[in-house]
Amino acid sequence: MGETQTGPLLKTPLHALHGELGAKMVPFAGYDMPVQYPTGVMAEHNWTREHAGLFDVSHMGQCFLIPADGQYETAAAALEKLVPADVLGLKPGQQRYSQFTNAEGGILDDLMVTRLGHPGHEHWIYLVVNAACKDADYAHLKAHLPAGVTLKIAEDLALIAVQGPAAVAAVATLAPDLAGLKFMTSLDLAIDGIWAHVSRTGYTGEDGVEISVKSADAVALTQKLLADARVKPIGLGARDSLRLEAGLCLYGHDIDTTTSPVEAGLTWSIQKRRRIEGGFLGAGRIQKDLADGAPRLRVGILPDGRAPAREGTVVKSADGQPIGTVTSGGFGPTINGPLAMGYVNRRFAEPGTPVLLEVRGKDLPAKVVTMPFAPHRYFRG
């Protein structure tokens, strides 16, 4: 998961707190981040599925698009040139998952797009992008946004995710209005006196929230949240196994500049109007993939045995021909077994198709399965 670094590692506002909590720190996307706490990846994963886990995701990029004319449509139309999602159709407070595409229809990054709902800010768009891509994303936005839309990079915001079946109940004890918030919507409110922007979303497949808060308030808010016995800190290790079980893509692994959103199984995130109208970078390839079917598809792969198949593992057909590659693979504590996702030739993408995984020179039997591996438990109201 760690990327190669040069120069000193950056620290999130919670860095010192991670140390106090006994975290093992690793370099990730230029930041010194907690990979696990003393209980370890397995216990943290299971705690999140059963109770609530708190994740420091302050390394992610947060920014705003602000239209000079005060019209939401101005900002939305500008963003729609760069992402295939329906941004114009967002209601105040509503959030959508999307991707920055390139001219070839590949993915530069994946991101969350929110139309702010707070009175007076309903024309603002709030974006959350990947840490490893954020500098490139900001440059991409600056290069393409029209003069009437300003990019405001939020350097002074932390981001804290609380995920799991008890997550919202725990946060709602400090902010009761959160209880009725629906999946993929957001609210600006005070959490026990600390002003925050809260989205009912996440990266674990569980119900939960992501809380954007001033960096100066991040430690105080985290301590209030961790004071609840249901909430424990969770590192990047369990974040990865949780998202893999949920079938969610990790940028740079499962999606990149060579994969189209259609191949990646993200067609659901391209609303109907955009599929028909296009009008975003790389629309030609993406519309072609939609019309003709993508040559390869991202699928879930479940090994029959116990050996995990890691990223880069060659996937073969039952008769031994190479048909694809694993892009994420490991062990799922909730399903109590190995699991993987990767790309295969579309003729082999049907769930139930038997395949082979070449692990340490041996072809291990596996099959293509429908994702997620662990059921999503979002709150749709």
Partner: protein
């Protein structure tokens, strides 16, 4: 009491006559985290000192286990397939990986004894 020796890669070998029992140290299992899968060599396999002889996988990653000595594998721990977490729970005991018939006892002299390994850990 059997002698235990260690490699710099944190394997141990418990020496009992001409047979050695190989596993990983408490420090190694702690660094790996939760063990979810172990691949062991078959009995009869010839291994060389420093060869990758087994693989241990945690939730996050796979790691090679190198044989501390040359020789022939005489047994692999049958319990690890169904209960890989034994490596975490009892690395020095029930969590052993394989037994090897030691071909060249002189190779043992190149390994660290308990005190030297403890001193080595202090440098990490």
């Amino acid at each position: 009491m059997a002698t235990v020796k260690y490699t710099k890669d944190h394997e141990y070998i418990r020496i009992d006559g001409d047979t050695g029992t190989v596993g990983i140290s408490h420090y190694a299992q702690e660094q790996l985290g939760d063990v979810v899968f172990v691949e062991l060599p078959a009995a009869g396999k010839a291994v060389k000192k420093g060869d990758s002889a087994a693989v241990v996988e945690s939730v996050k990653a796979a790691s090679d286990i190198y044989s501390p000595v040359s020789g022939e594998v005489t047994a692999a721990n049958p319990d690890l397939e169904g209960a890989p977490a034994t490596v975490n729970d009892d690395p020095a005991g029930k969590g052993w990986f394989f037994k090897v018939k030691i071909a060249n006892p002189a190779e043992l002299d190149e390994l660290m004894d308990e005190a030297a390994y403890k001193a080595f850990l202090d440098t990490l």
